[in-house]
Subunit: 199 residues, 2 copies
């Protein structure tokens, strides 16, 4: 079977993004030059500008892709079950996504301050959509008296922060399997939201 | 009453640290030069080197001071009560400390990757001491059957991550008072650890 040969931009684009992601995660956005990214890809610095107008756009594209993929991942995982099932699905999906996207999660938090105001506002809007998805589950559960929460907004922020923390210490092949970690965190989350029968 | 006149180093040291903290928090360690820090303080760049050998040492000093103050703050807040009281004291102390040290908390997470390996190891040792203080409370509560936790290490990481998250959204004068936020988070934490009577 003939292997389709991609155009220059099809091949180089993903490699530029991958190189930028890795360099930004390792050294920080401010410390990385377009020249370094080009060097990592093995092209001249000028070739980068065929793909992206500047380093700011490259950063925004990476952060936007992270949020689009995260939202997409959740829309595919959504169980469509009751609020307890949906919350479990959300927690597991979030941990799974983060652990398989550790570099982009890392720069999504570390480099927010380096976004231009317009780009920052766009990323914040994606984050808001994602937080709203979790808060909708928490609200539905609270209304159905399955959860007991005085403030679903704070619970949303608390749950996301707790789950994001997994990336700071989890190592593949460590003391606990990923599935065990997901289960332990899910247990803490369902108790934190006051889910009935799980105290 | 005569006002004690400090030596050059007594006056300039804290100002250099304050300027470095603010600049690192705003622009990132890599993007800030010694010259910029000197400019912010209003001294020549050369004068900075009377106080600190290099930017790396300045960063380490700031991150070490953050951890020393955090540990000190907890040793002063320690209630010496039962595990439930101690856990509440820990949660409130952590939130209070973080909200009153937002810049140093921020750089403590953002700039870890910019520490030299030796300095990184020293900061990690401080963090370990702090995590151990929380884990000791969780272990004591689990042994006394006041908490129900399958893994006190994971619960330690989960609680700290959850509480750190407050700094990402809390604003003085916002919808909720700090005391209300502390109470809501404490309620989520005590439920998350399975504290009896709080399900």
């Amino acid at each position: 079977m003939a292997r389709k040969t991609g155009s220059h931009s099809e091949i180089t684009g993903p490699r530029i993004r991958a190189a930028a992601l890795q360099l930004f995660a390792r050294h920080g956005f401010a410390a990385v030059s377009m020249r370094q990214i080009a060097g990592e890809v093995g092209v001249q610095a000028g070739a980068l500008y065929l793909y992206t107008p500047d380093k700011q756009t490259l950063l925004f594209d990476l952060l936007e892709a992270h949020m689009v993929e995260l939202l997409d991942s959740w829309s595919k995982s959504e169980a469509g079950g009751d609020p307890v099932q949906n919350l479990e699905a959300f927690c597991r999906c979030h941990i799974q996504f983060n652990l398989s996207h550790s570099d982009s999660l890392f720069i999504s938090y570390m480099e927010l301050r380096n976004l231009d105001p317009d780009n920052f506002a766009k990323i914040e809007a994606y984050r808001k959509r994602y937080e709203d998805a979790l808060e909708a589950i928490l609200k539905a559960g609270t209304e159905a008296k399955l959860f007991s929460l005085p403030d679903t907004k704070l619970a949303t922020m608390a749950v996301i922060a707790m789950l994001n923390g997994v990336n700071t210490w989890f190592r593949e092949g460590g003391r606990l399997s990923q599935d065990r970690v997901e289960r332990i965190y899910w247990n803490m989350v369902r108790r934190a939201v006051g889910a009935k029968g799980f105290s």
